[in-house]
């Protein structure tokens, strides 16, 4: 029997198994390359603003006080901004720089243990050769006219190799992540959706019943897609889905698509869950009902 490929969403490929000490797999979601790049750019932007503001403040005070000590302060500040920004923020409780926090990312040890200082230093020291060093070469050669333009080109290629490195491995690891044993996860915050079946039960309108044939059309995948349609509440989608189900099940149109779909959802869910309790599962409409092997 031909099995049509199940659509795989982009986020599904970034799901990773992550087993807690209690033995439960949390299936965390990794930050996408786009989110990582966005967070990095935000951080650079904030660092630039801090640098400019700091330079102006220190510069004006230095001129007023005629003090060379303050330029030493600037040097220290620049050093810590360049080398400490990422490391110090990631060592804090949130495990994220301001840019990462805005995007909703978090640095985590790949083995699920505590994120240690050593790991944070390692992953951010590598940033030096991934980005800051080649970029400083690049800008130095751009500013000094007449120097070898080859150097700036090599610096760009060098940096590009490292910047695009996360795209060439499954887990979106930077070279620094590789060495530090960390990865960057998406910090999802999901609200608990309302209970569709329960809200049906509260209303006392008559409900539809469905024949075995009508309920036997679909599996878990379709059930959960239907759940998504009901939660989203998009009218076009509801009309389309209701029409499709009616056509397949050979049911007449009763002009209440939402009511029809929620009744169908509750009935199908109850049926599939009943089967699930005795170890019978059906992944989607193409699959036969199979006995759970794990049980």
């Amino acid at each position: 029997m031909a099995r049509s490929p199940k659509p795989v969403s982009a986020s599904a490929t970034l799901r990773r198994s992550f087993v807690t000490p209690e033995g439960v797999d949390l299936r965390i979601e990794l930050g996408s390359a786009g989110a990582r790049a966005g967070a990095f750019m935000l951080d650079l932007l904030i660092m630039l603003v801090v640098l400019i503001v700091g330079t102006i403040v220190i510069g004006t005070t230095a001129v007023v006080n005629e003090s060379i000590l303050l330029s030493g302060l600037w040097l220290i500040g620049f050093f810590f901004l360049r080398n400490g920004w990422f490391a110090l923020f990631e060592m804090g409780g949130r495990g994220a720089t301001p840019g990462k926090r805005i995007i909703g990312l978090r640095v985590v040890a790949r083995d699920g243990s505590r994120l240690t200082g050593g790991a944070v230093i390692a992953r951010n020291a590598m940033r030096e050769i991934e980005f800051f060093m080649p970029m400083s070469f690049f800008f130095a050669t751009i500013v000094q006219s007449g120097t070898d333009k080859m150097i700036s080109f090599v610096a760009l290629v060098w940096s590009a190799v490292f910047l695009f490195f996360p795209l060439f491995n499954r887990d979106r690891l930077r070279v620094g992540d590789l060495l530090a044993g960390t990865w960057v996860v998406q910090r999802a915050k999901v609200k608990l959706g309302h209970d569709i079946a329960a809200s049906l039960a509260q209303s006392d309108r008559p409900r539809r019943t469905f024949s075995d044939h009508a309920l036997g059309l679909y599996g878990e995948y379709e059930l959960q897609t239907l759940e998504q349609v009901l939660r989203d509440g998009d009218n076009d989608a509801i009309v389309t889905v209701a029409a499709a189900i009616r056509r397949k099940a050979g049911l007449p149109d009763d002009h209440d698509d939402y009511g029809f779909l929620s009744d169908y959802y509750a009935a199908l869910c109850a049926r599939l869950e009943r089967q699930m309790m005795v170890g019978l599962r059906r992944a989607d409409k193409y699959a036969e009902t199979t006995r759970d092997r794990a049980a």
Partner: protein, 342 residues
């Protein structure tokens, strides 16, 4: 055919399950959100005490939900709730002060201890570079200009007079230059610390760039020593160098050794997988390297301020040797093994 009946909707598992546990989940969600927003301090002790209990019950809810419920929203909610709670319970580092204390009392010395072979190699490379440069410049002074970058020697080259060289060694600072000294010290510190970070990070390329950096460091050292030794100022120059150089060169060697460690781990992983070895090496080497920033700050102070105010050879040698012995004692003094390498 559909028929309408006046009967309760068949209760699905998720409904019963939600009714039984939803208040617990909401409580956990509330506590975790509060910690995420304002840290552990912003949450009453009562909540912290129930946090692990609620977390475990949410975990078990998640397991049950996955096996018995087809409510996707419920499973997704419990997954993110458990993940967030997990990171608040297991993933959060200890307080900054305790981390810092542990760093100086345990993890840094231990990380440096683990690098003793690589440090020895870095020392041999530096010494070899110094000897080679010394011999090269002695036989043909024009080598000096090949080895030293333009402008870094500030007139201290083979053509300089004894008088001038002597003044660079013993030229103390007048009081009005205190500010300049401090600036000089911070410049040296940030420059050297950047080099230390490079030599760690560049070790990633199978040690080669780090070997280059360390050897070149030795070459410059040897060339400088020869210039002064040729004028009979070796003793004074080495003292001038020693006061901060023992700390500074040692720090550079350690960070080079940290680079060697990750390069070697990547090149020769042995029986374990390359990724595992790289992580173990990367973490402990990073600690050793992170500490060298502190050493270089000390060296910067000694060089920028100490050297300009202490001008007697004897005192300079004493300070330099005492610093070196101090570092040795600090790093290699046997200490109890508490297991964890952070």
């Amino acid at each position: 055919m559909t028929a309408f009946v006046q009967a309760p909707v068949p209760l699905v598992n998720a409904t019963r399950f939600r009714q039984a546990h939803e208040s617990d989940w909401e409580e956990l969600d509330r506590i975790v959100t509060a910690i995420e927003r304002s840290g552990v301090r912003g949450v009453p002790e009562q909540s912290l005490l129930v946090l692990p209990v609620l977390y475990r019950s949410a975990l078990s809810s998640l397991s049950v939900a996955r096996e018995t419920s087809l409510d996707k929203s419920l499973v997704a909610y419990l997954e993110q709730l458990c993940t967030r709670a997990y990171f608040q319970i297991y993933g959060v580092p200890t307080s900054a002060l305790r981390q810092l204390g542990h760093f100086f009392t345990r993890s840094w010395p231990k990380a440096v201890q683990l690098l003793w072979k690589e440090t020895l190699v870095a020392f041999v490379l530096t010494a070899a570079g110094a000897i080679v440069a010394y011999l090269l410049v002695r036989n043909n002074p024009s080598w000096y200009y090949v080895l030293m970058p333009d402008g870094s020697s500030q007139g201290r080259d083979p053509t300089a007079s004894v008088q001038f060289l002597k003044s660079t060694i013993y030229g103390g600072a007048s009081t009005d230059k205190q500010g300049a000294l401090a600036f000089f010290a911070t410049f040296l510190f940030t420059h050297n610390a950047q080099i230390a970070i490079f030599s760690f990070a560049l070790g990633f390329a199978f040690c080669l760039p780090t070997v280059g950096l360390i050897v070149y460091n030795g070459l410059m050292l040897g060339a400088m020593i020869e210039v002064f030794a040729a004028k009979g100022l070796a003793y004074g120059f080495v003292g001038w160098l020693m006061i901060h150089g023992t700390t500074e060169l040692y720090a550079i060697m350690i960070s080079g050794a940290a680079g060697f460690r990750i390069g070697l781990a990547l090149a020769f992983p042995g029986r374990q997988s390359r990724a595992d070895v790289a992580v173990a090496a990367g973490r402990s080497a990073a600690i050793a390297m992170g500490g060298t920033v502190v050493m270089l700050a000390v060296a910067g102070l000694l060089e920028g301020i100490g050297r300009q105010t202490v001008t007697s050879d004897g005192a300079r040698y004493t300070i330099g040797i005492a610093m070196l012995l101090g570092w040795f004692a600090y790093f290699y003094w046997p200490r109890r093994d508490d297991g964890a390498v952070a």
